[in-house]
């Protein structure tokens, strides 16, 4: 059956409406159930002793005093877990040449970053475990630390893992066309070096896990604050040497994740291993200092970029050299090479040009491991591209909007393959840009800016076009050997009272997955949205799936839900047809009732149908199939990824005396295909923008020369707060993907992808009359003043 998307008055039209989230009502009453809220009988708590050194040999660990402390039940060292938990190596076959060293849940011989677990103390209470951890005495031989990524590959730099031969994890060079020839012949070439600050997610709920081994069932049950329950099931089974079927991962409410909680963390695996050894439930909740030192960091990049344009400002070629430091290990199982790889894939992405060279070099260092965080690589690629495009526009003498009009891929050019080899099904850069220009009254703002400049007020407008990778196929991870599902499933069933339950492999992290699944299922089956209950986050009951990452919940999980709902609808109508002695295709289901498709006369409600199917099946024809349940899976096949696009604008003021940047307003027009719930999409965009702004203006993990993290607390690591954030106007263009019936692409990362570039361009636009330019994030007042020449020391 086809859904009549164009008609807002179609029956059961929940898709496209701003329905509030069913789980929000519970959360505002404090009735969430996060991992730390769960208490199990005989539960113990674990706290970790962590390396105070960036790089050190572990000579001796004295546990006696801790062992005999009040409340302490047991102390584990890395060696103690070697027999129950095998180490992992985070490489993927499709990332040619990637290498990393075996990583243990607790460091065995050497500690390689400040914060790496060195021992674990299990006690009756968390306070006792922490007190016990303070009593573990570790002798270290401090080793030289590799801190600066720029010198990580120098012959004089010590090797972090001598077995690897060097500190290089991964390198990739992509080249298309004769780059050098184009650059030497071009009318204009501009070049700049950009830096993005190493930052982290700061989920308000820290990483949390509660693991329980049941010897009778030989089953490990893990309550986990995670984005990928099935992936974790697979990882824990493999490294604890259990059958996958004997590991159950349950993921209830998650207090923010943003990519932070999609990785394998040594302390979490250690917690599961300890539960396996002790046969008692073990809980680990990271504290805030641990979160800063051990949650993955991201975006520690230095990028040198050049762009060649002709005399009309037409982009001819882009040349990118990216360097990133990822800490001492590639992070399991997604690897820490993906971010750099995305920089190569995405630079120049919105633009029509075909000569391109990009190299990424991914090196090891003795800092917290980095890995994929919301919008992986996009904010970097976008800022570098948009920074270069603005510089080129200035050189040619073009307005930034006009520069983009001349260079964005034409809206009728699709399908289009970018210079980086990315395949775009259908994007709407020009429509999005024109919508943005209208929404923000670009001309009016330019006039206001010019007026204020005369009064010594420096305001700027920053524009950033972007693309976003969503709905990933197995080409992202599965092809490289990782057991990470790109497919997702949904089971939809009707119960005797006519209500509907849907079980999905995608997960809820607060973004509204359960709300949109309920909308889709309600529309597909033909019931009120309040009659649909959604169950996610349990590997033992939901269909197998990938969970939440790469903005895949709506596009992949949503399509599975749509198809499962439509299948159930067909099953229901077949039974209804038999009961009403009508042809199934003359009937319809609307708001929980069987009606005549023509005229809509009610024939029976679903509760009556349910009663007969479940309790009086004897009255139905014997050969009639009466499956009140249907499961469907969905995977993309034509395109490796469903790209979305959009454009952001930042309007801001720079105080040239103090260096402070005040954000006045922010706009984003984006195209995520079919919108299921406009309010939820807008809030994903807004939340994403603010995370991007955090990276642009405030957030940075600061290290000293010895590899000590200097600001591992919320008072010193700044994040955006309500008072500093602007109001954000969000607009949409809808270009549904033709790959699925639903047509949805992802929306979770677009805000973060474009915001840093927009803010950077806004600051540089404000400071242009003063001849200052900033390319190093975060743009702190100090850096602004330095760029203005007002701070020289």
């Amino acid at each position: 059956m086809r859904l009549d998307w164009g008609n807002p008055d179609r029956p059961n039209s929940y898709i496209g409406r701003s329905v509030p989230r069913p789980n929000a009502a519970r959360l505002v009453e404090g009735r969430g159930r996060y991992v730390d809220d769960i208490v199990l009988p005989r539960m113990l708590h674990v706290a970790f002793v962590r390396s105070p050194h960036a790089h050190a040999r572990i000579l001796r660990i004295a546990t006696d005093e801790a062992q005999s402390a009040k409340g302490v039940r047991r102390v584990f060292t890395g060696a103690d877990l070697c027999d129950v938990c095998s180490p992992w190596v985070a490489v993927l076959a499709h990332l040619k040449g990637i290498k990393s060293a075996p990583q243990h849940p607790i460091a065995v011989e050497r500690a390689t970053w400040t914060g790496e677990p060195v021992a674990a103390v299990v006690a009756e209470t968390r306070a006792a475990a922490e007190d016990g951890a303070a009593l573990v005495d570790v002798d270290y031989e401090v080793l030289p630390a590799v801190v600066d990524m720029e010198t990580a590959l120098d012959p004089a730099t010590p090797l972090i893992h001598p077995d690897l031969g060097d500190n290089l994890t991964f390198q990739r060079l992509h080249e298309k066309g004769d780059v050098d020839a184009i650059f030497s012949a071009a009318s204009h070439v501009v070049e700049a070096t950009f830096r993005t600050g190493r930052h982290t997610g700061v989920c308000l709920e820290p990483r949390s896990i509660l693991a329980e081994w049941n010897p009778g069932e030989r089953q490990l049950t893990v309550y986990h604050s995670t984005q990928a329950p099935h992936m974790m099931q697979s990882v824990l089974a493999k490294h604890l040497d259990l059958p996958e079927s004997r590991v159950r991962v349950i993921c209830g409410d998650v207090g923010g994740s943003y990519g932070i909680k999609v990785h394998v963390y040594p302390d979490e695996v250690a917690t599961a291993a300890i539960a396996r050894v002790m046969g008692r439930p073990i809980k680990f909740i990271a504290d805030r200092t641990e979160s800063f030192a051990t949650d993955i960091h991201a975006r520690d990049h230095r990028i040198t970029g050049r762009i060649a344009v002709d005399e009309n400002g037409k982009i001819l070629a882009i040349d990118i050299d990216d360097l990133t430091g990822i800490g001492p290990y590639s992070v399991y199982p997604r690897t820490s090479a993906i971010e750099g790889n995305q920089v190569v894939n995405l630079c120049g992405g919105p633009y029509d040009f075909q000569t391109y060279r990009a190299q990424t070099t991914v090196v090891l260092q003795n800092k917290t491991p980095t890995c994929q965080y919301r919008a992986v690589g996009h904010p970097i690629a976008c800022a570098v591209t948009e920074g270069l495009v603005d510089m080129a526009a200035e050189k040619v003498g073009l307005d930034p909007v006009e520069m983009r009009r001349r260079n964005l891929i034409a809206d009728d050019a699709y399908p289009y393959t970018s210079a980086a080899g990315m395949k775009f099904e259908a994007l709407s850069h020009h429509r999005s840009l024109e919508k943005l220009v209208a929404l923000m009254d670009y001309k009016g703002l330019r006039a206001e800016q010019a007026q204020l400049r005369e009064r010594g007020v420096y305001r700027g407008i920053g524009i950033a076009s972007f693309i976003e990778l969503t709905n990933p196929s197995p080409f992202m991870y599965g092809i490289g050997g990782a057991r990470i599902s790109a497919q997702d499933g949904c089971t939809v069933r009707m119960d005797p009272d006519g209500s509907v339950v849907a079980l999905s492999g995608v997960t809820e992290q607060g973004q509204g997955t359960e709300a949109i699944l309920a909308q889709i299922v309600a529309e597909a089956v033909g019931v009120e949205v309040g009659e649909v209950r959604i169950i996610t986050g349990d590997t033992q009951t939901t269909p197998y799936g990938g969970g939440t990452w790469a903005s895949r919940g709506a596009g992949i999980g949503g399509e599975a839900a749509l198809q499962a709902g439509l299948a159930l609808r067909a099953n229901i109508l077949e039974v209804a047809g038999a009961m009403l002695q009508a042809k199934a295709d003359t009937l319809d289901i609307r708001a929980g009732r069987i009606v005549d498709s023509n005229g809509g006369i009610e024939r029976m409600d679903l509760a009556e149908l349910g009663r007969i199917v479940y309790f009086r099946g004897d009255t139905l024809p014997r050969e009639l199939s009466r499956e009140m349940v249907a499961t469907r899976h969905y995977i993309t096949s034509e395109y490796a990824f469903a790209f979305t696009n959009g454009v952001q604008a930042s309007w801001l003021e720079v105080d040239v005396e103090t260096g402070f940047v005040k954000l006045l307003k922010h706009w984003c027009v984006e195209d995520c295909g079919r919108i299921i719930n406009p309010m939820l999409v807008d809030e994903q965009i807004r939340g994403g923008i603010v995370q991007g702004i955090g990276g642009a203006l405030y957030e940075e993990c600061l290290y000293d020369g010895d590899g000590q993290l200097l600001n591992a607390n919320m008072a010193d690591y700044l994040v955006p707060m309500a008072a500093e954030m602007p109001d954000m106007v969000v607009g949409h263009v809808e270009t549904p993907t033709a790959e699925s019936a639903l047509g949805a692409k992802g929306a979770g990362e677009a805000g973060t992808a474009g915001a840093p570039g927009a803010v950077m361009n806004g600051i540089n636009d404000a400071l242009r009359p003063l001849g200052a330019r900033l390319t190093e994030m975060p743009f702190t007042p100090e850096r602004v003043l330095r760029a203005l020449g007002k701070l020289t020391k």
């Binding site: 807004r686 603010v690 607390n713 008072a723």
Partner: protein, 166 residues
């Protein structure tokens, strides 16, 4: 005093929590948010930093909002404590809670109970604060999900409805 000594010392307290009398013997070093969560099972108050910075543990003690991770339970003899569970039952924050749901002013919900207490303080003051004033007032509470705008919208809705009704 070292940590061990501190935890060994126990103190008797009698207070009311959400309108119900509670008598307890607590470690002298136990913070209110831990007492509520661990001893009373009131898990609606969250700990995001245990450092007084994030505001996730914000609750009401003797009519004032406090950071539950900074207040020692031992000092609360005779105090009146209200948590999100309690005010949900009395219905006194219903308008704010409804506005948060309608406007999707929460995503993961971890910051939300603390946000509600901070917002209620402003709402109770009456008047029609500007968006800037609301933003300023809410600036002690972290939210990593929403970008704040929806929270500001929800509070603005409630303060203007309240003024309109006067």
């Amino acid at each position: 005093m070292n940590a061990e000594g501190m935890f060994r010392r126990q103190v008797e307290v009698a207070l009311t929590v959400n309108g119900e009398p509670v008598e307890a013997r607590v470690d002298a070093g136990k913070h209110l948010v831990d007492f509520l969560r661990l001893d009373l099972g009131l898990t609606g108050s969250h700990a995001g930093c245990e450092h007084g910075v994030c505001g996730a543990c914000t609750i009401r003690v003797n009519g004032e909002i406090v950071r539950g991770c900074l207040v020692l339970t031992a000092q609360l003899d005779g105090a009146e404590v209200w948590t999100v569970e309690g005010v949900s039952e009395t219905g006194e924050m219903r308008a704010l809670q409804d506005a948060f749901v309608q406007r999707n002013a929460l995503q993961c919900g971890f910051c939300t109970p603390g946000m509600l207490f901070a917002a209620a303080e402003l709402v109770e003051r009456g008047g029609r604060p500007s968006r800037e004033e609301i933003r300023e007032h809410m600036s002690g509470n972290y939210c990593r999900c929403t970008g704040y705008e929806a929270i500001i919208d929800a509070i603005e809705q409630v303060t203007s409805d309240q003024e309109g009704a006067r």
